[in-house]
């Protein structure tokens, strides 16, 4: 009954400096993970680090494997990076609310940096509805899943802050320009650093466009039991792990420790 699985890593490969792509298979009886959902991942038997680490579903492979894409940050991700194919990891999930797929109009995806990970499976799931995709990053090297995005939208618009790839500047600029030109209705899906999400939400709100954001917060349980991972919404604090991580944009109250949303980028 528990959705905690001990499964072998089927791959764990470096895809860029400090970034890895790992995959594992879930037991057959598990619900199929959907875009926007995440997993709590840990190394069995360890008490330091004690807690599992949350990682978004990057992509379901053709063989039905779960793929996660992660950056090595601290102790937990470093230990995960040291595992090799065949090593057993402990996985809780799939967890959280996925992106709703039955939205109105054209899907418009806006992703920033590594935060764009959950948009990969979303883009693939929505490929039949010709999504428009806008990707931003600080530098070209951070655009890790571009090939997958291009499968869903060959004209995926790329912008980098240092101008290394695509347009120079924040992703919100080409996104805003697109909304200016495109008459028809659309639904926006955004994922990335908080200032970017706040900017995207503000742009959508001004134009009456509906949308969803996927949030991140420090987590302990991942299932809504500890109330450790809350975000401020118009209805008070809600747990990111259970009531999110995907929220309707208009519900989230963004706070701006790093500047105002008008700045428009991370």
């Amino acid at each position: 009954m528990s959705r905690l699985f001990k499964v072998p890593l089927l791959s764990n490969t470096e895809v860029a400096d400090g970034h890895r792509l790992a995959s594992f298979a879930l037991p057959r009886e598990t619900r199929a993970p959907q875009a926007g959902q995440f997993f709590m991942v840990g190394i069995p038997g360890l008490q330091d680090p004690l807690l599992k680490r949350p990682f978004s579903l990057h992509r379901m492979t053709d063989e039905g494997r779960v793929e996660i894409l992660y950056r090595i940050r601290g102790k937990g991700t470093r230990l995960l990076a040291e595992r090799t194919t065949g090593d057993v990891i402990e996985v809780l999930g799939p967890l959280g609310k996925p992106f709703p797929l039955d939205s109105t109009g054209r899907p418009v995806l806006v992703g920033g940096g590594l935060g764009a990970v959950p948009l990969v499976q979303l883009a693939l799931s929505l490929a039949g509805r010709s999504p428009r995709i806008f990707l931003g990053a600080r530098a070209g090297a951070e655009l890790l899943s571009l090939d997958w995005f291009r499968k869903a939208d060959p004209e995926t618009v790329v912008s980098t802050e240092n101008g290394e790839a695509g347009l120079k500047g924040f992703v919100t600029e080409p996104f805003r320009a697109y909304l200016e030109d495109s008459g028809p209705t659309c639904t926006v899906y955004a994922c990335g650093p908080t200032p970017m999400l706040a900017a995207v939400s503000a742009i959508c709100r001004d134009r009456g466009i509906p949308g969803y954001v996927s949030l991140e917060e420090h987590m302990a349980c991942g299932v809504g039991a500890c109330m450790g991972c809350v975000t401020e919404t118009v209805e008070g604090y809600k747990s990111v792990c259970r009531e999110g991580p995907v929220f309707p944009m208009e519900q989230v109250r963004f706070s701006f420790p790093g500047g105002s949303p008008e700045r428009g980028g991370p």
Partner: protein, 302 residues
């Protein structure tokens, strides 16, 4: 088949394993991961008269073999608990123990009246949560205040009363004795130990609340020692907790003097931990040819 049945005062439990308050939500959150029917009791997140917002994030930070939390007692409040949360738990064949907190004796008394009327199986007084400035710290660390509170609450409650002691005091047995004289049926210990972590890059505390409560395996030896002291000095029924991850950990608490144990932070790591401990205790008793878990309570050889 050895017996796992145990008693906390008047309260009979099918087995001595419960969930620790604040680590198991209102039961519902874990219902798809664990068979709640297999637990001795579910202890729910601390309930106050009115809903509480809690602290801003970050509310949790990992520490070596443990974690600090400063949730700030976010909870749905008494009314929503009775209407929306309790009926769900009542579908299961397990005891429901409600952890409560207030800012005044009056708050606690009203909570106890309502919860007694609602027929919950027991009430656990949180007098020790270190997170919210007015969240009960005065009661848990001031013996006279604690005595006054327990006495009033005792009169207002028709169900077993458990006082959850703060470990952030010099002599925990003294507080246990005060609670016993004021009429508590049992004590639970330990609540979290107050701690702090600083980010050396930003030079800021890692928790928005600055300090938080330490839980997990890191605090287990402290908890076992406190259970042993309170058992030896008061003989009160004890629910022991603090870093229990495995059957062996639970047995340490029982041997030190706990009649029951609660699994807290371990739920986050392994939602099945509590049920695995129930099974593990049964196997241990069978193997050691002990007929009842009650024979092991306080049986440490010193």
């Amino acid at each position: 088949m050895p017996s796992l049945e145990t008693r906390i005062g008047e309260l009979r439990l099918r087995n001595p394993v419960m969930t620790a308050s604040g680590t198991f939500g209102y039961g519902q959150e874990y219902a798809e991961f664990v068979d709640l029917n297999r637990l001795g009791a579910v202890v729910v997140k601390g309930i106050s008269l009115e809903p509480m917002q809690g602290n801003p994030v970050p509310r949790v930070v990992e520490t070596p073999c443990g974690m600090l939390n400063a949730i700030g007692l976010q909870n749905v409040g008494l009314k929503a608990f009775l209407n929306e949360k309790l009926p769900f738990l009542r579908q299961f064949d397990t005891r429901v123990i409600v952890n409560i907190l207030g800012n005044s004796v009056k708050d606690y008394v009203r909570l106890c009246q309502h919860l007694s009327d609602a027929g919950v199986d027991a009430i656990e007084l949180n007098v020790s949560c270190p997170n919210v400035k007015k969240g009960g710290i005065a009661f848990g660390t001031d013996a006279a205040e604690l005595g006054r509170l327990v006495e009033s609450v005792r009169k207002a409650s028709s169900v077993p009363l458990i006082t959850k002691l703060s470990p952030n005091v010099g002599d925990v047995a003294l507080f246990a004795r005060v609670a016993a004289e004021a009429g508590t049926d049992a004590v639970s210990l330990i609540n979290t130990l107050v701690g702090m972590v600083i980010d050396t890059v930003t030079r800021r505390p890692k928790l928005s609340n600055i300090t938080g409560g330490l839980s997990g395996p890191a605090i287990r030896p402290v908890a076992v020692r406190m259970v042993w002291e309170v058992h030896r000095k008061t003989g009160l029924p004890i629910i022991g907790m603090g870093g229990i991850m495995t059957t062996e950990d639970a047995l340490e608490f029982i041997l030190a003097g706990a009649s029951a144990v609660a699994v807290g932070t371990a739920n986050f790591v392994n939602p099945g931990a509590s049920v695995e401990i129930v099974d593990g205790l049964e196997r241990y008793l069978a193997k050691a040819r002990v007929s009842s878990v009650r024979e092991l309570v306080g049986a440490v050889r010193t």
